[in-house]
Subunit: 341 residues, 2 copies
């Protein structure tokens, strides 16, 4: 991009300029944004970065998908605290291999994700980068004071659950990397996998149901794979999580594609990541009530195991044999990458 | 860096882990941080990115300076709203030309800046980058409800002021680029210029004095050069700013170095940037009172002109001739770069 094209983008992102009201006192266009929350709420804040060649390739993600997913990964973190996402700051570093039009499409994706979840873009920074495009998104939201859902709240006797289905994003990546290599179009039957990878859903409503529980358990979002997320809960809570392989929810298309490719769908579920489902624990007596609330919202909800004293450890029963679950996470393209601090 | 080194950094950044209290409910170590502010406060939030080769070179900035300055540029934005900085999220993308030790030094600088201004690191993301290190920092702070200082509050009859001195960071960059080229050590007499460039000061106390005014004017921080900042105030407020060249505060060392190099110190002051001083407007009747408060805090405060109806425009009286001030900003190394949205 040239300097003039940068000005275009700057103007384009200013479509949020001057928007205030509903708690927002100052939006885009000053040194910083200013907002307030109701007196009974706390601020929930998180930040996730996505870098070209490390987290995505031009071959596997449309520009608008890149923007969309960068926002979703942060909204998902707010959901995993039981919060409501409200505001976003967008920091983008653009390298010369991206056109102004592609950047506008990235912002289209950013705004599409924000609008879908009631989030307002209130600031950010647009700079150039010598070699790879990177996108760092901060999302701020709110949660009732003292009600944020923590990884450390798992207790022996509770049940382990996961929302939706997992492994689909990794299956989609496998498919997209292959079609990028061969130049073939994606077959109709595998289209759902593309959506799992490019347009994930953040489970905000699920987080809100769990945050309303009088006796909540632990919660995490599946950004790095179910194994990694369960390990984080196990370590933060000092408990052992015992899960059943056959209960882990994997979409039918994911299973079919794995079978077609001779791969193990459970591996994608455990170590794939970017599914942005919620995984956590609930009191056993809450199973029926919470299951009914999830059903009302149309969100699949699956109990996959239970919490026991001991650990930290995560073990899985597969074909009647208990095996340890490796503490491994997502590694997109075989390159070094560290997970969230 | 290798994957193992990334783990080191991850562990190292977790030195804030588990820190809570004084409004912070959840710090580093969960999906998101959670904090609350007093009921009479709003949240001030901003985000600034710095990219290797675009905003800094290894030759001109020590790793710890890079971390320090990335935090200061955000604290300065909070100061320019009249706010108190409180919390930071750190997003870093590390390229292979950086060692784990250098990354630790970057974090040393980040923590040093945060500690100097009472800011707590509450989260972030550490990822890899194929080619250039980039650092995106989000700082969140607080300001009394309805009291944030805006660029749009300049009114005819007010005075234009700037804190501290300007142009020193650009002089320091000129010096550091030269010594990087020649390999010479920096002469003792020019050392202050190095500090102006590498270790800028954010004017939080100055912003607080201005925010306490019953009838506040406009405020901006000098990140892109005085010309750019005054133009932003002029455009946001719809006024003409008339400034006097000879009143613009330039440090004696900056003047001497400019003279030594045959350069115009005023050019650095207007178009250099990264001085992180505050520039703004105040009511004329407030000049004495506010000047005394700044003097008490030891912060230089200089009236450099006045606000008139008309515009938007910025004009400067130099040697008894009025000339337009160009709407140009900072451009570190001659590469395209866009300013904050």
């Amino acid at each position: 991009m040239t300097y003039d094209e940068f000005s275009l983008i700057r103007r384009w992102t200013s479509r949020s300029a001057g928007q205030t009201g509903d708690g927002l006192s100052v939006g885009i266009g000053d040194d910083a944004a200013v907002f307030s929350l109701p007196a009974d709420r706390e601020v929930v804040a998180c930040c996730d970065a996505m870098v070209e060649t490390v987290h995505f390739l031009k071959e596997t993600m449309n520009p608008s998908d890149i923007g969309y997913k960068a926002v979703i990964s942060n909204i998902s973190d707010v959901a995993a605290m039981g919060g409501i996402p409200k505001y976003a700051l967008i920091s983008i570093a653009v390298s010369p291999n991206w056109t102004a039009e592609e950047c506008q499409q990235i912002y289209d994706g950013i705004y599409a994700a924000c609008e879908a979840y009631g989030v307002r873009v209130i600031g950010g920074d647009t700079v150039s980068s010598p070699a790879a495009l990177s996108l760092s998104v901060t999302v701020m939201g709110e949660v009732e004071k003292g009600r944020a859902l923590l990884r450390s709240a798992a207790k022996p006797g509770q049940l382990v659950f996961v929302t939706g289905h997992v492994g689909g994003s990794a299956a989609g990546l496998d498919l997209l990397l292959q079609t990028a290599k061969t130049g073939e179009a994606v077959e109709e039957m595998w289209q759902p996998l593309v959506a799992f990878h490019q347009r994930p859903v953040a489970q905000v409503a699920a987080g809100r149901i769990l945050a309303a529980s009088a006796n909540p358990g632990a919660l995490n979002d599946v950004s790095d794979g179910l194994a990694s997320e369960l390990w984080e809960i196990s370590e933060a809570s000092g408990v052992c999580l015992r899960i059943e392989a056959e209960l882990i929810p994997v979409a039918e298309t994911t299973r079919m594609y794995a079978s077609h490719k001779g791969k193990d769908p459970l591996h994608w579920a455990l170590y794939g990541g970017e599914d942005y489902q919620l995984a956590g624990t609930i009191e056993a007596v809450e199973e029926e009530r919470i299951g009914a609330l999830f059903a009302q919202q149309g969100i699949p909800f699956t109990v996959i195991g239970r919490v026991e004293a001991g650990g930290p450890s995560v073990v899985m029963n597969r074909n009647s044999r208990w095996e340890p679950v490796a503490k491994a996470g997502f590694n997109h393209f075989g390159k070094a990458d560290a997970r969230k601090g």
